[in-house]
């Protein structure tokens, strides 16, 4: 028991370090990527290729005064950024990076990750509500309606995967996909199951993980042209920093989950050089796509966002669930 506890504590420390490092350097990657798409060089002054920019930004954020506005609900105001960051880090503990590298593998791993992911919406609600700022409240209402709307197709798609692999254990899901890329869940010719809609399910899951992380084109929660900065309008210093780190940690979680459920986790496509780097390669490719999408599309409207979920993604994911159930019964 004590060994398990120690294991988890060490895993949490590593997860915090991993999340912080990712948050810092994904900001750099995001800024460089955005700049390249807009044909600018991006941050390139501090260090080679601007690589010292993230630590310097971190120092700047930490050196700033933590300002709490007069009328806010102080406890909730201070809890909210922590609540945005903590579930994201905790989710890392159960995500298997390879067959050996996992903080604490659980039989209900997928359920745990989704449970923590839905707590992110709670953090946004608390932040918006406690700020006592009308724009923050509007933004948090948007963020919550968005989180609810996009959790449903995401969970239905996850159930489809659980039905195919027959386990809620993340490691088990990856193991069910080993043996060449044609065994991955994204491809329709999985052994004994010829579901032609798996690519569509992958797209649905990917779109939902974009929406869950509140990123463009679904960043209505922090639509700066309408709502100042949304739920983190009143936050400065490291409070804002924690929201930021939470967002980027959630991006990594979303990409990891997509990789595990659809792209075979750490499984290498041709059986070459198995190891954790295949997993990292896949998640960073997905994250690069996240960044690419963010700097391509303009922000949707709130109606367009909810219509997309309720009228297209939910029926489509339900249809694929039924089809998969039927196929599993037949074959």
């Amino acid at each position: 028991m004590s060994l398990t506890l120690l294991n988890v504590i060490v895993a949490v420390f590593i997860a915090i370090a991993f999340a912080a490092l990712n948050a810092a350097y994904l900001v750099w990657a995001e800024r460089r990527g955005a700049a390249r798409i807009q044909r600018r060089p991006g941050p390139n002054i501090n260090g080679p290729f601007g690589l010292f920019q993230p630590p310097l930004d971190g120092v700047k954020l930490m050196a700033k005064q933590l300002l709490i506005p007069g009328d806010v609900d102080k406890i909730l105001f201070m809890v909210a950024p922590v609540l945005a960051m903590a579930p994201a880090i905790t989710s890392f503990v159960t995500i298997p990076f390879s067959s050996h590298i996992v903080g604490h593998n659980m039989h209900i791993g997928i359920l745990l990750v989704f449970a923590f992911a839905s707590m992110g919406g709670m953090a946004l609600l608390l932040a918006g509500w406690s700020s006592r700022n009308k724009y923050s409240v509007m933004s948090s209402v948007r963020a919550v309606s968005q989180a609810i709307a996009y959790e449903i197709p995401m969970l239905i798609t996850a159930i489809t995967i659980v039905m195919i692999t027959g386990t809620t254990d993340l490691m088990g899901i990856v193991k069910a996909q080993t043996g060449g890329f044609w065994h991955w869940n994204i491809f329709p010719f999985k052994a004994g199951l010829f579901n032609p809609l798996m690519l569509m399910s992958f797209l649905i899951f990917f779109i939902c993980s974009l929406a869950e992380t509140n990123r463009a084109p679904f960043d209505l929660g922090e639509a700066e042209s309408e709502l100042v900065a949304g739920f983190h309008t009143e936050y400065g210093s490291m409070g804002f920093g924690l929201f930021f780190m939470g967002e980027y940690a959630n991006i990594v979680i979303g990409a990891s989950l997509t990789t595990i459920l659809f792209l075979g986790g750490w499984d290498c496509p041709f059986g070459l050089f198995p190891g954790v780097w295949w997993f990292l390669l896949k998640i960073y490719l997905l994250i690069a796509t996240f960044i690419w999408i963010r700097w391509t599309f303009p922000r949707t409207t709130i109606y367009g966002l909810l219509n997309l979920s309720w009228k297209i993604l939910i029926p489509a994911s339900l249809f694929n669930l039924l089809l998969t159930a039927g196929l599993l019964k037949v074959f």
Partner: protein, 146 residues
């Protein structure tokens, strides 16, 4: 029902088209100028504040006729000149430009019949004090010559 599906597919296709465009842009060369490290050469018709033109000996072309002073709608220009003993023409002893009031209309340059003033290509002008924009153009000419 058909419109529903065709709407989804045309919408999805347009997303991929957009991503294709940004993908191409990603690998195109940058077009911005890194301003403090590299600067653009100002075009011939760029209007900076006025500057005196010198002849071959480095003396100003100006004959202190005062046309620019009269032409200026904002009274930015103040001239001073004197006629030395035995000389034929007046000699410029002071050319003061109050750039805080200048709107770069160019009337002074147009009114000059002696090719004595021109627009400079200077655009790096920033200061927190008004006095920094009161230029002594004669002094600037001497500084350029030395």
């Amino acid at each position: 029902m058909g419109a529903y599906f065709s709407g989804i597919f045309s919408g999805l296709w347009s997303l991929f088209v957009g991503m294709g465009i940004t993908f191409r842009e990603f690998f195109s060369p940058t077009v911005t100028v890194q301003y403090p490290y590299e600067t653009l050469k100002m075009t011939a018709r760029y209007r900076g504040h006025i500057e005196l033109i010198a002849d071959e000996e480095g003396k100003p072309n100006c004959v202190v006729c005062g046309m620019c002073e009269k032409a200026c709608p904002s009274s930015c220009i103040t001239l001073a000149g004197e006629k030395p003993e035995g000389a034929k023409k007046k000699v410029l002893t002071g050319y003061h430009l109050d750039f805080t009031k200048c709107s770069l209309c160019g009337s002074c340059v147009e009114s000059c019949n002696f090719n004595a003033i021109e627009f400079s290509r200077e655009y790096n002008l920033a200061s927190t004090r008004k006095e920094d924009f009161h230029f002594d153009l004669l002094q600037r000419l001497k500084d350029r010559n030395s």
